[in-house]
Amino acid sequence: MSETTRATALFAAVFAMIALTGFMQSWNVALLILNMGLISAIMSLGVNLQWGFAGLFNVGVMGFVALGGLAVVLTSAAPVEGAWSAGGWRIVIAMLAGAGTIVGTVMVRQRMAKGRARTIATIAILAIGFFVYRAIFDPAVGAVEAINPALQGNLGGLNLPVLVAWPMGGLLAAGVAWLIGKTALGLRSDYLAIATLGIAEIIVAVMKNEDWLARGVKNMVGLDRPVPYEIDLQNTSSFVNRAEGLGLDPATASSLFVKLNYSILFSVVLVIIFVMAQLALKSPWGRMMRAIRDNEVAAEAMGKDVTNRHLQIFVLGSAVCGIAGAMMTTLDGQLTPGTYQPLRYTFLIWVMVIVGGSGNNLGAVLGGFLIWFLWVQVEPMGLWLMEMITAGMPEGSGLKKHLIDSAAHMRLLTMGVILLLVLRFSPRGLIPEK
């Protein structure tokens, strides 16, 4: 089977499964899977950029996805009245003081000769800087969080259209990725993995605890959306007439219509990113990246700047994850920092890339759809399986209840088994790199 037929067949199979969900369960579920599948495909394209192209082992995907979500709030939410005058600017000043401390430390360390004096100076600057930062920061945060704490207590956003938030999510993730890359990219592969794992935890911890930013675990709900609201559609007579013409009741039709709109928007983004990634892969830049991945020393000997190229692709890949994160938060209509978990937002994306085929963009996209489909559908399948197994057991037995209750955890098990099977029997993925 040639490469193209294989890829076409695999994609056809995945979309057939999604369509089957539409026929057997409901089209609502099918479209939900499709929409999150599109987002997952973008995330796995981002990871594929880093891992497939450049061999960078980033297990901090969750952090960049979360930053994308944060960007939605900071861009599209309405500004909270009086928050900026109450303490917003002082928070900015505190941040600048903090950044200044770090820049100052780095400069002092560069200027001074190595020795005890330098160590003392470093510690002194850091300590003074920290206390100055806290002295400005704490009261400012208190002032902001005191504004209408039941509903607001945050700075709010820029009130821009929500579609602007998607590229902003990419930018925010890219900025943070640049900072991280500058410090951590020199590390060996498994050190980098652990460093990025930690960074993701820290980013989510910041989003959970800094209420002035996006209300932390109190969540931001009712975010803007780029598509019409169901209730408005149901009150539009032309829409209701057309839905009835198709034989649908207005409630179902409106929810399908909204989801289809999202699907179209997400598909456009996916196609743009996919084409760009494909062009990058085939360009001299992409060949250089793969050369660096395959033999760092040789590439360096050829005069390639390995560190800077790594930084570049780390930032690019993280930006793609940030865009996907912003899209996901827009789809949900809310930002809930408590729901970001590494198994779901980091390691699952890795399963997608590995299963799809690392180094191959088409493979990454396929992995995104396939694994997301399974992630959603394994639960009902597991439940069904458990009901089959326990069918013979007496009603009300403890074991039966336990088994049926645990069906929900089948999905983790399944993902692990799929990952191991692919790694063992088809280590280059379903659509291997050319």
Partner: protein
């Protein structure tokens, strides 16, 4: 007197919890560092191995309790520990046979093994949630305190109280025993020496007739014992919750790297470095400073450098600083 009160408060809130936590981290980090030294990859499934071992201990404890067996003032879980270790050993040997051995024979790159361990992590995580569910489980019984605040106050007449939980005492004692046994094994027995030789120089070890599969098997057995013990001690001290063990992965790795990956002594030192920094940086120092400083200088705020929610940030910053300035860790670890 005031200084004494300060000292007691310091021990109660910082030193004792940090020692217990540090011992748990050290046991976890020892497992990570042994795998890194012998099998040469970072095992992402280690946190979930701990969870699995602890889960077995919880189940066996419940079984023992239902049979009316108890361990007097000590928690029943200690009786369950050996059985849990055996169960975990069976599981890790099985995963090694079914999963890891294939890649060892292929001489796969370490990063591939890391990804493989991610798959094992998913499976173990799923298994634990499948069997015991994702919720909190309390399984500690027996005496709660070695010395409680009230007893201590009555004993010394100090204003500040000092409490030592039984679990904290047990943690330290068990950890000391484990570490002593491990070092005796590594330094005195033939198998232990062959393990160290294999870790130092694989080719030379093979040349001198050491059987690599045997070394690997013993490593997994020891790792299973360490991980289960660490998991049970942590679960006794806090409470058993599957997801928490996954989150422990970060401080455990930080401890192993700070000490120097592959160095057992480093793992122990690293565990305590991480634990003490986490606790001291996230502790509100007001109470201690109130006693230690003259009244005029008494602090008005809590004097908490970072909120407790950022304890991950602490281990992370230490990790980065060590990696940037001393990449092989405090005790020269080997780097592949």
């Amino acid at each position: 007197m005031d200084l004494l009160n300060a000292l007691v408060a310091l021990s109660n809130f910082v030193i004792i919890p940090a020692i217990a936590y540090g011992s748990q981290l050290a046991l976890g980090a020892l497992g990570v560092t042994l795998i890194y030294g012998i099998l040469r990859f970072s095992n992402f499934a280690h946190g979930d191995t701990m969870a699995f071992g602890a889960m077995l201990a919880v189940l066996i404890t419940w079984l023992l309790q239902s049979m009316g067996v108890s361990f007097g003032p000590l928690p029943t879980a200690l009786l369950a520990l050996p059985f849990a270790i055996l169960g975990t050993m069976a599981l890790v040997l099985l995963t090694d046979r079914v999963v890891y051995r294939f890649y060892r024979e292929q001489k796969a790159k370490p990063v591939i093994l890391v990804i493989v361990s991610m798959g094992v992590m998913f499976i173990m995580n799923g298994l634990v949630r499948f069997i015991i569910g994702p919720n909190d489980q309390r399984f500690s019984d027996g005496e709660r305190f070695i010395i409680s605040v009230r007893e201590f106050k009555a004993l010394t007449g100090l204003k500040e109280g000092l409490a030592i939980k039984t679990t904290q005492g047990i943690t330290v004692v068990v950890a000391v025993i484990c570490v002593a046994l491990l070092f005796w094994f590594l330094n005195r027995t033939r198998t232990g020496k062959s393990m160290r030789a294999y870790s130092d120089n694989e080719d030379l070890a093979l040349l001198s007739g050491i059987n690599p599969e045997r070394v690997v098997m013993y490593t997994w057995l020891i790792v299973a014992a360490l991980a289960t013990t660490a998991g049970v001690l942590y679960g006794l001290d806090k409470s058993f919750k599957p997801f928490v063990y996954f989150q422990l992965l970060l401080p455990i790795f930080a401890a192993a790297i700070v000490g120097g990956l592959g160095s057992p002594l480093g793992a122990i030192a690293g565990g305590f470095v991480i634990a003490f920094s986490e606790v001291t940086i996230t502790y509100a120092w007001k109470k201690v400073l109130k006693y230690a400083m003259p009244e005029s200088l008494e602090p008005s705020s809590l004097v908490q450098l970072l909120s407790t929610d950022y304890k991950f940030a602490v281990s992370f910053v230490i990790l980065i600083v060590v990696l940037l300035f001393k990449p092989t860790g405090l005790f020269k670890g080997n780097s592949v």
